[in-house]
């Protein structure tokens, strides 16, 4: 079995689902003939035809809105936005209609759309090409927000998202697209959409993160191990609905918690996680929780990017703060 990247795993999932379910259709800018700007939909149009793999004009409102009309009839559109920042022109249709179709019809219709977009920074481009505004979507009732961080989870979570009857905003950490390889059998097995993944067990401190920040967080955990601190690393993966139980169980064990995310700090998903831990697990805590996040500023260009993104150093500093608290 050959090992594949996240980009290839996503392609494998799309291919798998299109082969077994003719209701699955792919649409977006340059997804067909060109196979997508990040090559995630490569080869799909050749295999499934231009009717199921549609190159759209440059029009995000139509991509997000048409998907809803199609989904209302049982099709399962997987819509691609070329970058997360380009969802914004199509935002209205997602929050006003995709998220509410089930509620508006009191459960008689659902909206099985997957809105996919490359997400986060790491390619030195500013602003819209590096957005991590998952909290905007997580705030909207009726949407699932999913962020894979390994080839296996990319495959399993995308399958689950396509099969899910409700709209999923599926954000792909583009920095990880080709960073790591894993053996991912094409067995059609989906992963649960309501569960965090414990990537590493530890008894001293809980590190909660998702997306590309998994990378820095794991490095931090390794450094801590050398110092005799055992960190538990949790990949949230499904941001909404949030599997707080897994996180609480970990905090019960460690008593200390640091949440790490790339998105800006204020009202980020980290705030929600910390709030839920204080509501349900305050008495388990041995120290105030810490957040390591991006800053409340717009993603800057090129070399400044690395200063924006949480570094291993900043994670270690926060861990030190929670470990030394008495």
């Amino acid at each position: 079995m050959s090992e594949i990247t996240i980009a290839e795993a996503l392609n494998q999932a799309l291919n798998h689902e299109m082969a077994i379910d003719e209701n699955v259709v792919v649409m977006g800018e340059d997804v067909g003939v060109n196979g997508g700007v990040f090559r995630i939909t490569k080869g799909l149009q050749e295999r499934y035809g231009a009717e199921r793999v549609m190159d759209t004009p440059l029009s995000e409102t139509m991509i997000s809105g048409m998907s809803i009309g199609m989904a209302a009839q049982g099709l399962k559109p997987v819509a691609e936005f070329q970058f997360m920042g380009f969802i914004y022109p199509g935002f209205d249709q997602i929050i006003s209609h995709a998220s509410r179709l089930r509620n508006r019809t009191r459960g008689r219709l659902t909206c099985p759309v997957v809105y996919r977009a490359p997400y986060g920074s790491g390619i030195h481009a500013p602003e819209h090409h590096s957005e991590s505004t998952e909290a905007l979507f997580a705030h909207i009732p009726g949407l699932r927000v999913v962020i894979p961080s390994s080839p296996a989870r990319a495959y399993g979570l995308l399958l689950a998202s396509i099969r899910d009857p409700d709209p999923v905003v599926f954000l792909e950490p583009k920095r990880l697209y080709r960073m790591m390889k894993q053996d991912v059998p094409d067995n059609g097995e989906a992963l649960p959409l309501d569960q965090c993944f414990v990537l590493r067990e530890g008894k001293d401190v809980t590190l909660v993160t998702w997306g590309a920040m998994i990378h820095e967080t794991r490095q931090a955990a390794e450094t801590l191990e050398a110092e005799g601190i055992e960190a538990e690393v949790i990949d949230v993966a499904t941001i909404k609905p949030l599997d707080i139980e897994t996180i609480l169980k970990s905090v019960q064990k460690t008593g200390r918690c640091v949440v790490i995310h790339e998105a800006a700090r204020t009202c980020g998903v980290g705030a929600e996680i910390v709030a839920q831990i204080s509501e349900k697990g305050l008495m388990d805590l041995l120290a105030p929780m810490q957040r390591v996040t991006g800053y409340d500023t717009i993603m800057p260009y090129n070399k400044l990017e690395k200063h924006y993104m949480p570094s291993v150093g900043r994670i270690l500093l926060a861990v030190k703060t929670v470990m030394e608290y008495v």
Partner: protein, 332 residues
């Protein structure tokens, strides 16, 4: 146009081509990061249109293929290059890079990464000028692909309804990334698409700068004289891939060769040579001088300029004295 202006204009065309070529090299050396969209092949459009505008006075706005528009509008080439290098001396203090050049001191109101988004902004700039009673106009340059966004149609309707002084310049280079126009657009002649909004429009060769200038002059007169918006379409071609990661697999070598035969620098150069205004020798001298200027002044400036300060990362968000309580500590 007198011969010395013609020579100047010709020099500008070469300068812009060489500037983009040099930018490409800097990108390959990783001095320039992120995404880079080059204007090579289309130079006659922005150069010709803005030659007829009142740069520094009129508002100019465009997409992400914006280096030449910014410079012709009056932004300093040194500052544009420094911006590409991400330096503090850049036109956006090194924070925006290639797609977000901005120079309000000359009313260059920005490059924009999001396709189609400048349309409403241009109408707003025109509305502002109208309300203030100035004779400024807003000039909005965008591609053929952008016209499939809703903002295009919403803007056209309102600009026409309110008789706004805005000139829409469509640079039709036949592609939106890898999607050729006939696969995305029913009415491929973009100038025909605006007739439903009661806006006057026309289509022209974008490779011949004399044609561009003549058409632009009429269009600008129309807009400035209070007759409302005008939509002008230029047929043109980008030589390089959409951005630097594009292999151009979606178009043929024959098509590329046809357009390169109609190169704007070639066309104008031949015309000036035939008229006895420029000799081949002078052109060579010009090219050498341009390369030296780019290397010894522009690149040197960008190379030697300081990096933005990390402490300033959180600046320019709400006010110039950010409150550290909500910006958060800057550590790395």
């Amino acid at each position: 146009m007198n011969p010395s202006d013609q020579k100047r204009l010709f020099r500008e065309l070469i300068f812009y081509r060489r500037f983009e070529d040099r930018t490409y090299e800097a990108y390959m050396e990783r001095k320039v990061g992120g995404f880079l969209h080059l204007y090579s092949g289309q130079e006659a459009v922005a150069t010709g249109v803005l030659e007829k505008a009142r740069c520094g006075h009129d508002y100019v706005i465009t997409g992400y293929r914006d280096h030449v528009h910014a410079m012709k509008a009056g932004a300093s080439p040194k500052e544009v290059m420094a911006e590409l290098y991400g330096k503090e001396t850049g036109s956006s203090k090194g924070r925006g890079g290639s797609m977000h050049i901005f120079d309000p001191t000359v009313n260059f109101m920005g490059g924009y990464a999001l396709v189609g988004q400048p349309f409403p902004l241009a109408a707003g700039l025109a509305m502002g000028a109208k309300m203030k009673g100035t004779d400024q106009i807003a000039i909005c340059f965008l591609g053929d692909g952008a016209n499939n966004q809703g903002t295009f149609h919403e803007t056209l309707n309102m600009a026409s309804l309110w008789n706004l002084p805005v000139l829409f310049v469509c640079e039709n280079n036949l592609y939106a990334i890898g999607t050729v126009i006939h696969r995305s657009t029913v009415v491929q002649d973009q100038y025909k698409r605006v007739s439903g909004y009661g806006i006057e429009s026309s289509q022209h060769d974008g490779q011949d700068i004399d044609v561009v200038m003549e058409a632009a002059e009429k269009a600008i007169d129309h807009v400035r004289s209070g007759k409302g918006p005008y939509f002008i379409e230029f047929m043109t071609y980008r030589y390089r891939g959409h951005s630097m990661s594009d292999s151009k697999s979606y178009r043929s070598k024959e098509e590329e060769a046809e357009w390169i035969n109609r190169d704007p620098i070639l066309i104008y150069g031949n015309r000036l040579k035939e008229a006895g205004i420029l000799s081949e020798k002078e052109i060579k001298k010009m090219e050498t001088a341009i390369d030296e200027e780019i290397e010894n002044e522009i690149i040197k400036f960008a190379e030697e300029s300081p990096e933005p300060k990390v402490e300033d990362l959180s600046k320019y968000v709400l006010d110039d004295n950010p409150d550290p309580r909500w910006i958060g500590p800057l550590q790395s």
